[in-house]
């Protein structure tokens, strides 16, 4: 086997390293588009039900803590910044930089998940968990059914998002070990790059979830 020409940065089926990078980027984007359609179905269900029960959704949305939601958005945006700095360090071939920024990203990601767990716990204490005995939302009278639709969507959407965060935390951990083992260089940083795309995508999902779940008609309160 003639392996002298074949490296991680240039496998034999590609003409140039740039072509190989473009192929990896394109593949990742196609995966992310399937994710857009996956989350898209939920955003669609959300908007249809919000259109049908606008008043109940406004009351239910106002029961969420907007300051915790906004703070968590900032945490996630910070993690996107540290992730892009990790990708930049990998493009420049700075191994210690990759590890430093990835660890920061990991910490911020876990902070987000911790805050999310706190919020979910609060829902259990306030009897805002749909399907559980004693579900009750104040201020909507007998419209408890539509209120539980809001919280079903809330748990499904933030839950699916958090699941993606957990996967992201796993990917970051793997990357940190690979970076420590010296797998990446200024010629080969594709895994850091496409993991960055995944992390930013999950951030974008939250960019839409935050205003749609937390910020409906806040002025009414």
């Amino acid at each position: 086997m003639h392996s002298e020409e074949q490296t991680l940065a240039l496998r034999e089926q590609f003409d140039t390293a740039a072509q190989q990078r473009d192929a990896s980027t394109l593949g990742m984007w196609i995966f992310l588009i399937t994710e857009v359609m996956f989350f898209g179905g939920m955003f669609l269900a959300y908007s249809i039900y919000r259109g049908k029960y606008p008043d109940v959704f406004a009351v239910a949305s106002s029961s969420l803590n907007v300051y915790i939601g906004a703070a968590n958005t900032v945490v996630l945006l910070c993690s996107s910044f540290t992730m892009v700095m990790a990708v930049r360090a990998s493009q420049l071939g700075k191994r210690s930089g990759i590890i430093f920024w990835l660890i920061l990203t990991l910490i911020l990601g876990m902070t987000f998940l911790g805050v999310k767990a706190f919020e979910w716990n609060e829902k259990f204490e306030m009897h805002h968990v749909p399907g559980m005995a004693g579900f009750h939302l104040d201020g909507v009278g007998t419209s408890q059914g539509p209120a539980s639709i809001f919280f079903s969507l809330y748990f499904a959407m933030t839950g699916l998002h958090a699941m993606h965060m957990v996967v992201g935390v796993g990917i970051l951990t793997m990357l940190i070990f690979q970076a420590k083992a010296g797998k990446f260089s200024a010629e080969y940083w594709t895994p850091v790059d496409i993991s960055g795309l995944y992390w930013h995508f999950v951030d974008i999902v939250w960019i839409f979830l935050f205003p749609l779940l937390y910020l409906i008609d806040r002025h009414l309160k």
Binding site: T16, L32, V66, D217
Partner: protein
């Protein structure tokens, strides 16, 4: 053995990323503050417009799409199109039934 081909990705400056990051934080503060103002039906329009701006910043700068190959950009636009078909066709279906209260019908 670094390839210096035309499509070699340029490395953005820390300043560029820092400015994009600050813009994202500012947009988060604005969207939260605006939610407490009574804009009627426009409140969701403003919230989505700000979210779309934030998405574009992340996609173009953090995800490097402004440096990406034309094929990648085309595939992305295709994805957006399919998403709009998903939303648009379902809205026309639900909107044309009596299930939802559409003004003027």
């Amino acid at each position: 053995m670094q390839e210096h081909t035309e499509s070699h990705e340029p490395v953005d400056s820390v300043m560029t990323y820092a400015l994009v990051f600050l813009a994202l934080i500012a947009a988060t503060v604005i969207t939260t503050a605006v939610a407490f103002v009574d804009l009627g039906a426009f409140s969701v329009v403003v919230a989505l417009a700000i979210a779309i701006c934030k998405m574009l910043l992340v996609v173009l700068f953090f995800m490097h799409v402004r440096h990406s190959a034309k094929l990648t950009k085309l595939v992305l636009l295709g994805g957006v199109l399919w998403f709009l078909i998903l939303m648009g066709m379902t809205y026309t279906d639900f909107g044309s039934r009596t299930w939802m209260g559409v003004p003027g019908r």
